[in-house]
């Protein structure tokens, strides 16, 4: 008697080929997956190859100048020439300079004291004050490194007669790292994580909300009722707003008590902008949900949105280090603005008025995306 044997390792090539062909056919039919397979490597190549730069150059800088003299002009020109600094303006008051730094318009403020040229010529080692926005420690470090060199390289050739025995440094360069003087990366990362986590979870959860109904067949029942698209879409996002606020609270508690992130600004304001940001992500998710045919497609769309959000928003790499086109893309992402908002409030103590230029893009995003969502919401099964 022979016992029946299981041929676990036998290959029937006919069957095998059948399975291969079936998979190819299904892949071909699923256009979105196919698009993702081609799209994701291209997007990643573009982002990592061209957009990301951990030694950012062309950082916006203002000069606080009490008098314009040939030597200060030389110094400013040399900074610009180094490639690290883009001189976007010259201001004459400290308040003006502070405001630009607080609002994140500039990365550096370079201040020359009154009578700088005279003091320099007299060999008094006048102080040059460089204030850096160090809320993202990586962004500023490369630029600060070159500053020290510039002074001597510029001024030494101009002043050989006056300074026969030139000291090691002609000027007294003082660097103030503002907002995060110790350069603790957690101060930058942890607030940023609020945005990243919200982006991930909010878009994904609502992304599945409508496609789940469609897949289970319950959507047909919902459509047979007089419910309007606005009722359905807004009704579906409400519970997630609450979940989002709970997530934020958890992260904030961890930031405060585990990472000791400073919280300079108003918590109420922070929750206010968090609410706007949550809404932006939820409207996007619900719109994905009404475009996607099934839950898998909704997840793929979420991933496709999440990737550039992580990389181009200034979360993982300094925003200012990216080329202009990548910054344009980044400015379309809610996370970019939210990072500025959350860092502005927690680390810099920004007030509502100062943040408006990062709040309106979020509101615009909500309006545009919700518009698309309501337009694509199919009230019929066509």
């Amino acid at each position: 008697m022979s016992s029946p044997r299981l041929h676990l390792h036998r290959m029937n090539w006919q069957r095998w080929l059948g399975i291969v062909i079936k998979e190819f056919i299904q892949l071909k039919r699923d256009r979105l997956t196919f698009g993702m397979i081609l799209g994701i490597p291209i997007v990643l190549l573009l982002i990592f190859g061209f957009a990301l730069n951990s030694d950012p150059k062309h950082l916006p800088t203002v000069v606080l100048l009490h008098e314009s003299t040939p030597l200060t002009r030389d110094y400013v020109a040399a900074m610009q020439h180094s490639g690290y600094f883009d001189m976007i303006a010259t201001v004459s008051t400290e308040e003006e300079a502070d405001r630009l730094l607080d609002e994140g318009e500039v990365q550096f403020v370079v201040s020359f004291p009154p009578d700088f040229q005279r003091a320099l010529v007299r060999g008094e080692h006048p102080a040059v004050l460089v204030q850096a926005d160090a809320s993202d420690p990586v962004a500023a470090s490369g630029a600060l490194g070159v500053l020290n060199r510039i002074g001597n390289e510029i001024f030494a050739p101009d002043l050989p007669g006056f300074h026969p025995q030139a000291p090691t440094s002609l000027i007294d360069l003082r660097v103030h790292k503002r907002y995060n003087p110790e350069g603790i990366t957690a101060y930058n990362i942890v607030p940023g994580l609020i945005g990243v986590i919200l982006t991930m979870t909010m878009v994904l959860m609502t992304g599945l909300a409508m496609t789940r109904e469609r897949e289970r067949g319950t959507f047909e029942n919902l459509l047979a009722t007089p419910a309007t698209p606005l009722e359905v879409m807004s009704g579906k996002i409400i519970p997630y707003i609450l979940i989002g606020l709970i997530q934020v609270t958890v992260i904030l508690l961890a930031a405060r008590f585990i990472f000791h992130v400073p919280m300079v600004g108003s918590l109420l304001l922070l929750y206010g902008v968090v609410l706007v940001f949550i809404c932006a992500n939820l409207t996007l998710g619900i719109t994905f949900s009404s475009i996607a045919q099934n839950q898998l497609q909704a997840m793929q769309m979420t991933y496709f949105f999440f990737l550039p959000s992580m990389l181009l928003s200034g979360f993982m790499f300094p925003f200012r280090g990216m080329p202009q086109w990548a910054q344009y893309v980044g400015n379309c992402l809610p996370l970019t603005h939210f990072l500025q908002l959350v860092r502005g409030i927690l680390l810099k103590g920004n007030t509502a008025g100062m943040l408006f230029h990062h709040i309106w893009p979020l509101l615009l995003f909500i309006v545009v995306v919700l518009g698309i969502g309501l337009k694509t919401f199919r009230r019929t099964l066509d």
């Binding site: 289970r216 029942n221 047979a224 066509d382």
Partner: protein, 307 residues
Amino acid sequence: MNYAIDVHGINKRFGDKHVVRDLALQVKQGEIFGFLGPNGSGKTTSIRMLCGLLTPDSGSGTCLGFDVLNESDDIKKQVGYMTQRFSLWEDLTIGENLDFVARMFGMQDRKQAVAKALDELGLKARKDQLAGTLSGGWKQRLSLASCLLHRPRLLLLDEPTAGVDPKARRDFWEDIHRLSEAGITILVSTHYMDEAERCHRLAYLAYGNLLASGTSKDIIASQQLSTWSINGGNAHRFAAALQQLPMVEQVTTFGLKLHVSGKQPELLEPALQKFASSHNLQLERSSPTLEDTFIHLMREAHDQYEN
């Protein structure tokens, strides 16, 4: 005459597939109207167009007095639509499902309506049970209850009894007749002949075309079939041979009997008598049933549209 549904020239294409062709339908208020036809004949698509879930490509008409093309919001409020597949929320309880639907229709007396529905269903004790855990028959009853909740004037039922046991099917049809007596118009699609015979009037669809409509008597008469029934021995073994006889349009099996139908009785009868006596079978003149008629319609449609 007041029609609950009165549409004509309705067309619907999906891509290059013409799913519904020039559908014209008149359903009187308070009647039970049966919708029959093979799978893929456009029944579900037609029903979905009537309640605004699909937009017709062309055509016009009214449903409960509202324009089917532009006033689907008004139609939805007064129509109860029961989908072919169970489409209530399986992860909600019975009570929660009914409550949700009542809210969707903006019912003022929501709580009483839900309580009443639960009472009538006999599900009061099980109202906290998840809908997904119900058996097929109960799911069907819950679906019917949920689409009756907002007191619609018109019920659209898409194969409501598919996969339901005979007892539950019988109970279901008793409910349907009660509702019809209360003045509710009912359009119901089905594959079952016994259900078709319980409808006041019928329409038969195939390949997107309305092939016949009227009472079951009208439809049977319209095809001018003459039918004999053949009994005895293993009658069903002769089906293929009978089919070969001239003038035989179709042979259908009914249990152990055969129904042989044709359109020229004077020529068919002698041929059948000869066949029966030579094979020792009993021949008996009978009248064509609804099923004979539908099979005939389906065959003609197949010849006309498929080739």
